[in-house]
Symmetry: C2
Subunit: 344 residues, 2 copies
């Protein structure tokens, strides 16, 4: 079930969330429309704090009926662009991104969502919210499709290198993420490696396996190879940020390669056009199953506050899913779940 549909079933009361309305390739149009779609599912019970340029947001808001009575516009002319270096972005304290994250810090909002520059979001969030006690580095975690059921993968690129301790902490956070967001009671955990045998991989990954095994809250299963992510043989795939990012993007690229080929073939001949008509529902199901919009929303795990990163190029449906993911994670208190699993 998608985050938006899960959201419908939640008890929501007096919640405020912060939206960086200016972040992303098609902001603020997509962010406002996405927030409006999320507001439809929350039925006015969630207040949307919209950070951005008033002159640009006001005309867009006029067409957004669901947001009408449940938003507050906080004007700021400053924004972070996709080219800004994280170090420069951190110095701009009046950007829509920084103000949205500050709202989480000040407890004015239970979560912040941004489709902007990932490096800047990571830097600003870490500076403002600090890492949870027992977590040395934050990680980017998200949900991916698999043959069996959705799987959680992290880190998707917040870090370049990871020590055994980092990987272990990612496992704790991924475990809590799978329990809270997907409702898996006892998620199985795997470490992304270049072979499944225990002798494979470097020292850090082998030591990480031992640390995970030693934590009674966690269910360590095995090393997993790239092709096993989509087989769903574990519920949580733990990776260093570099190879996790490569795996995520390679999966996206391969899915696009195949879907592009199918689209082309379906237009190729008269017979294929008929086949396309007959296969319409099936292809829609396939699209639905693989659609990155329904998996949109990666959490900056490990901070004192919830920050969700939306894909920069998504549309309103994708952005609404990121918003829904943030609300679900906050409402079900992911950070308490993480703290409980950190064995001292």
């Amino acid at each position: 079930m998608s985050s938006l549909l899960r959201l419908k079933q939640q008890e929501l009361n007096n919640i405020s969330i912060a939206i960086d309305a200016m972040g992303g390739d098609k902001a603020p149009k997509i962010t406002i429309r996405g927030a409006n779609l999320a507001a439809k599912y929350t039925k006015g019970k969630v207040k949307f704090l919209l950070f951005g340029d008033e002159a640009k947001l006001k005309p867009l808001l006029e067409k957004c009926n669901y947001l009408k009575d449940c938003h507050e516009l906080i004007h700021t002319p400053d924004k972070i662009t996709s080219d800004d270096k994280p170090s420069a972005a951190m110095r701009n304290r009046n950007s829509s991104m920084a103000l949205a994250i500050n709202a989480v810090k000040d407890k004015a909002a239970i979560a912040a969502i941004s489709a902007g520059n990932t490096g800047a979001l990571m830097a600003i969030s870490t500076l403002a919210l600090r890492t949870l006690e027992g977590i040395s580095r934050p990680a980017l975690g998200s949900v991916l499709p698999s043959q069996l059921k959705p799987v959680v993968m992290l880190d998707l690129g917040a870090n370049l290198n990871s020590t055994a301790q980092n990987l272990y902490e990612f496992a704790v956070m991924g475990d809590a993420f799978a329990k809270v967001l997907l409702g898996y009671p006892k998620p199985t955990i795997g470490l992304l490696n270049i072979g499944t045998e225990e002798i494979k991989g470097g020292d850090e990954i082998k030591a990480a396996a031992e640390l995970i095994k030693a934590n009674p809250h966690l269910t360590y299963k095995q090393f997993v190879e790239g092709n096993q992510i989509s087989q769903g043989i574990v519920d949580v795939v733990v990776a260093d940020g570099f190879s996790g990012n490569v795996a995520l993007k390679t999966a996206e690229g391969t899915a696009k390669l195949i879907s592009g080929f199918i689209r082309k073939e379906f237009k190729r001949s008269f017979f294929m056009k008929i086949a396309a008509l007959l296969a319409y529902n099936s292809m829609r199901r396939l699209k639905r199953k693989m659609d990155p919009r329904y998996y949109n929303g990666a959490m900056m795990l490990g901070l004192n506050g919830i920050v969700v990163k939306s894909h920069g190029g998504t549309d309103k449906v994708g952005f609404a899913h990121a918003v829904a993911t943030a609300i679900l994670l906050a409402n079900r208190d992911i950070n308490s779940a993480i703290k409980q699993e950190l064995v001292k």
Copy 2:
């Protein structure tokens, strides 16, 4: 064009190649049948040295007409299994794998092909053949499908970590591989990274980009992200062995996830069965385009001799492609091409 078809156009004279007949999940059945299929395309001009257990190979050879007059069976009862550690495998000097590689060392064969244990093959090959002058570490390189045309990727898992110098040498070897095997006159080169901007990634990868740019034989293009591999925006993707392996296997896994879904959908209803009939040719084209068998055969680049690794679970068509790839690489002298591009 696949390696087998390219093979047909080659001038082949008095060539011998060495086959580890006992390596792979379905050896020796698949290796012998695969060699027989390759023999069909080489029309008796290539001699196949088959290393393995005579008692097992003889009955299989009786059914292999194309191999009949162009093979030599070299009996050895020893073989390397998939569970053998590389260090143990190296000590067995009478394994079919070691003897096949020794045939290359002794110039009795121009190349060796094995579908056996990758770690063992790498260790035995490196010990027997040693690295080329100017190459500090061998790398595993292969061809992958993309939207535009096939691309070369390396290292696919021979190494765990890579320095800037290693990555640079991989670029030289990948460039020669693309020129020799695919006939690309001036392959463009990209480094696999977590972002395309020049500030992205660690120090080693940034330094590698500078080294590649400084070599006049190479055409450096940019950092590439995982999703850009299958877009074909560069001809050669250079990666450290860990993330290269993850990318390769993740792409395979995603392709399987989607094709499994399509297969299931095509059996779902009466309409879908008709759609499947109408779409038969298209789906065959898709399968053909993505079929890992036609890309089978990864070279252990950087050694004084040609060793090609076949996927362990492939069938005779896949194994024949690995054999054809080895013959093409040897016949067109990939190692001289590499040496020419290594600027002192």
